[in-house]
Structure formats: structure tokens, C-alpha cells
Symmetry: C2
Subunit: 339 residues, 2 copies
Amino acid sequence: MAGSRPTSKDVAKRAGVSHTAVSFVFNGRAEGNLSPATQERIRAAAAELGYRPDAVARGLRRRRTAVIGLVTDHIASSPFAGELLTGAMETAWAAEHLVLTVDSGGDPVKEAAAVDALLDRRVDGILYAAMSPYRVALPDGLGDTPTVLANCLPAGDDRAAVLPDDRAGGATATRALLDAGHRRIAVVGGIDDIATAERLAGHRDALAAAGVAEGPVRHAGGDLSDGYAAALHLLSGPDRPTGVTCYNDRVATGVLQAAARLGLSVPGDLSVVGFDDQRMLSEHTAPPLTTVALPHRAMGEAAVGLLLAAVTGSTAPPPVVRRLECPLVVRGSVGPAPR
Amino acid sequence: MAGSRPTSKDVAKRAGVSHTAVSFVFNGRAEGNLSPATQERIRAAAAELGYRPDAVARGLRRRRTAVIGLVTDHIASSPFAGELLTGAMETAWAAEHLVLTVDSGGDPVKEAAAVDALLDRRVDGILYAAMSPYRVALPDGLGDTPTVLANCLPAGDDRAAVLPDDRAGGATATRALLDAGHRRIAVVGGIDDIATAERLAGHRDALAAAGVAEGPVRHAGGDLSDGYAAALHLLSGPDRPTGVTCYNDRVATGVLQAAARLGLSVPGDLSVVGFDDQRMLSEHTAPPLTTVALPHRAMGEAAVGLLLAAVTGSTAPPPVVRRLECPLVVRGSVGPAPR
DNA sequence: GTCGGTGGCTAACTCGTGTTAGGCATCGGA
DNA sequence: TCCGATGCCTAACACGAGTTAGCCACCGAC
């Protein structure tokens, strides 16, 4: 007896009406069809029994499950995925939707199987999140299921996508240094990467807007040791820069260590700006890192927002790329230019 | 035409049989009921149409959705949650189940609503994961839905739970130092916490087993600065310890910084063992941290394993607490005892 | 020739809801 | 008195499967 949920029929019996009447009450069709007294009786009966409509049966009939599917290539490896997932879950929740997540681990076969499994469950839309912003071939079979990509681009430009605005972010990083009075600004780290190119372009945008000449650029890789090595070189030469923007926080941490090694104080002698806001790192360096945050949470929110709009409007999301702002997180590694 | 999935009726029509026959094929009831020739015709028709049974309709009839619900209090804040989620998703996937996740953000009201939303979707079981291992009052209403707690304990001992074996983990940390020949071993960090007490007990277990006298214990808190301060004190006194086990990796990082400040080399003069394996930290300290890992992924796997067993056996998971091993992750911060 | 059994298949019901067409009063007006 | 309109409600079907009971033809045995 404890095990079985009450159905709309139970409620109907208790209120002395048909189950149709119960359905009306729970779907806003009561007004004009059911007398206020009857509505009240039904509501009371439902409350007493603790009735809640069965979402599975409802999904079958309505052909909407109020569930959106999320397939990603690496959820555990980075806190970013967690942020994106949180953003997605929260906007979904606000619209009374839930999120069904599958991690493909980057395996295309599993990825296709994951999409199939989600479609079998009749999810209302699919959010496809990648960890690296490359172009991505979606498994086919999703047909006209509303689909939005997050942090990656569709192979053909036929799907909606949500991405960080790397170019503007690059400009933001550099502007943080310019605003503090720096004029000799270097760029350290980076790989053969769309993001690297975009951020560098943003860097140049900011320099140009301020009428400042370009400094040295060292695309040395994306790891702590890369930042360390490049900075050691860069900072021991003549005419050393007073500010450095980095490809990411790992590289920036390497730069901080190199500065410490060379006896340069940060931010006294040198200012450093990171990228990504990898908080486990950026909050714990000495000094804590001023950095440009990737909008992972916002991407999750925006992507689900697009999906929900498509679902309620029963139209595919417009296949445009939306770029989201990368906000500056001010901590302690930027100070006024020395001298 | 592209938009609508084929149903079992479409397959039936194409194969010239009833939809019941199709259902038989997809549920292992074909043998003995359908001639091999008919089976083959059905299979062929299904393949040509790309038919896959609708999981929503199937869930309604079978009263099993092949979805398990996961409610957690903080998914984004730590990489641990991601690990747990990954473990859960993987074992679920291996059994052809998916995971429906809700983050309550620690709000008990939302938590209850989340459980209701999951039950509405008729999830086959619920995995309740917390970030801190305190006792937890489950929202009622889950009745006899199979439920397993991960990383926390039920308020009454009426539910199954999966936890790290903190005591054994504490012993593992200390044993790593004992095995390297250390005899003066300190404990740094910790809060008023079950985990702290358990790990300390394990520490003493290991010392007792090796017949080594207890060293200083500083329950100084759980942050980097706490570790730094405590270690500065501890290491500058006379008769300083040669090995330290820490409450967590943040504390351990503080200890490393204190050692550097005092001119002690790690692991030459001092060996340090962390706890948690917070990789973003432990992999990037100098030297990289030898630490005891919390079995988050294993907890996710074990919890879902228990749930699946309960679901297929249609019996509640036995309300016992299962403690999972915390493995030692060897990196570079432990060396032979000096002298 | 009838009876019982068996292999091969389907009609008809079920799960719990949403939805459409229509029934049955009652009421006002001619 | 009869007619149409209106207010209130329900019967019956649909969604897409899984499941039970049973039909029908064929076979062998008596």
C-alpha cells in the first residue's frame, strides 16, 4: 500500500468525478469546464492523497518529457564541466525540466550510442558539450531534435552553438594591464589552437585601441613548466615586460614561479594575468591570480535557454553562434606599472 | 516523415505480423513462440526502419525506466562530485541505465522537491550524494524506492550507504611514512569532524602496529594557511618530525610552503603525505604530493551497483554501511627518513 | 473419426495520463 | 410546449509499448 502512488483515478473516485475532471484541474482546463466547487473537491482529494501526475505517462501522451539530454566528452576531468552542468541544470530546473547526462569519454561510438539512448527516452532537446572548442561532427540520428552545442562548433554551420568570446576575453586580459599603466606587455603560452589565435587577436585589439606597441609573444605550450621556461627567458633579458598575459592559469602559475625564482615581486615588479579561472589554482597561488574567467556556467544556462525556447516554440534553435563574455576576476597579481 | 520514429506497429506491418510478435522479438520471448523464419523477417524489418523501442512507453508498461536519479548538494564546487558522477554514470551505462541529476545546492526545500521530481519520473532508484560525510536526513516520500547514500550517513540506520574508509586511509598515510623508515611522525590539520577523528584513529592503528610512539598532533583547521602556520611552528622547534601526514592536500601544500620557507627540502629533510588527492593541487606542488585518494569514483560505482542489484532483485538495498578503500597515490613528497 | 497436444501466431487488455466529441440537465425565450 | 443555448461533466480513444489468454491448424494416437 505504501508502495503505490495514487493515480488520477484514485483522486477521481475520492472526489466523486471522472479522471478526466482531475486531468482538467492539473492542466489548466478547469476554468469554464468545471464548477468552482468541483475544482475545490478535486484539489482537496488530490492533496489528501498526495497525488502528483506520473511524468512517464504524461510524457507518453504529451510527447514531451520535460527532460533535456546532455552529452559531454569529459565530465570528471575538469571543474569546468561541473560548472557547465550546474548552469544547465539550474535553468532547466527553473523551467521544471531535468537533465539526463551521459559522458561519452570522447569515444565517438559511445557518443552515438548515448544520443540514441537519449532519443529513446524522448528527451525534449540535446545539449552537446565539449571540452575543447574544435569543430565537432554530431552523431546523426538526432534529426530535428532541438540541439545546441556548448563550447564547440558544429561541423556544418547548421546547429546553434554557445561559445566563450575568446577574442573579447583576450582584449579584457590585456586591458587589465593597460588600465594599470603597463606599456610593455608580453603574451606567454598557447598552442596551435583556435582559442590561442582568438585571444591573441583580442590582445592586439586592445593594444591598438590604446595605441600601444606590441610586445613579445611566446606561444610556448599550455603547461605550468612551459610558462616557467618561457618566463625565465623573457624576464631575464633586457627591456623586460612589466606585464604578462597568459594562455591559461597553469602557464600563469609557471610565470609566477619564474618571477619568484628571479627575485621579482608580483605585482610589485611584474603583473600577471591568467586565463580560465581554474580556481583550484588561481585562488591558491601567491599572490592569488587575477585572471579572465571562461563562462562555463553561463554557457550551460544559455544553451538550455535556447533549447527551452525551441521546445516551447516547437521550432529548431536558430543555427547561430552565440559568444559569451569572459569576465575579469580581479585578485592580487596585477598592480600599477613600476616606475 | 523524418520527424517521427517508427513504432512496433510499423515494423509489424512491414514484416506482415502483429505488433505482439515484434514485442516478443525485442523481449527475448521469441524462442518457442515464433518460428525462426518469422523472427528473421521481423529483425530485418526493424533494422530497415531503424526501429528502437520507445523507452517512455516501455517504462510506463514495465514500471521500470532504466533511469536512476542522483541528487547531490554541490556538484560544481569540487572535482570530487564529478568523479562520483562519472563512476555512477559508467556503471549505470554498463547496465543500460542513465542518470538523471539534480543539484539541490544544499537547500533542503529544493532537495525534497528534487526527490519528488525524480519520483514523478519514476526513476528506478535514487543515489543521494553529499559533499561532507555528516549524517543526513533524507526527504521523506521516497518510501520503498531503492536508495543509497554516498559519502554520507543516514540519520536513522535504515538505508544503505557508501563511504570512504577514513580510518584505513589514515593508517595508509602513516604507513607510507613508516615504510620509508620515519619514526617521528606528526599530524597536521583537521577540524571537528568525523573524518578527522577516523583518520587520527587510523594513524594510531598504524603506529601501534609498528610499535612506534605517537608524535605531535595539530588539529589546526583545513586550509592552506592553517597548514602553513602549524608547520612553521612544528618544524622550527627542537626534535622536529621527519614525516607529516596532513588532513588534506590544501593543508599539505601549506606544509610544503612552510618547509620551503624554513629551508627544509622535501622529501630530503621532510616527507609529507596529503589526503583527498585534489589533483589540481597535488599534481602541481613542488614536489608533487604523495597523498591518499578519496574513492569518489568508486563510491559512485558501488552505489549504483547496489541500486541496480536492488532494482533487478526488486528488493531494498540492505541498510549497511560499506567502506571503500582510500588508495595511496605515490608522487614525490615522501622519501627515506633522513639519517 | 475423434481427441488431445503442440507449434505459431494474434486479439485484447494494461500501464496513467491527455484530449476530443458528445451527453445530459437546466434555463430562457418564443 | 418545444427549441436552442449554456454549463458541467464523462465516455472513449490515443500515446507505444508489454503481457495474457486463447485461437487455429496440424499432427499423431487410439
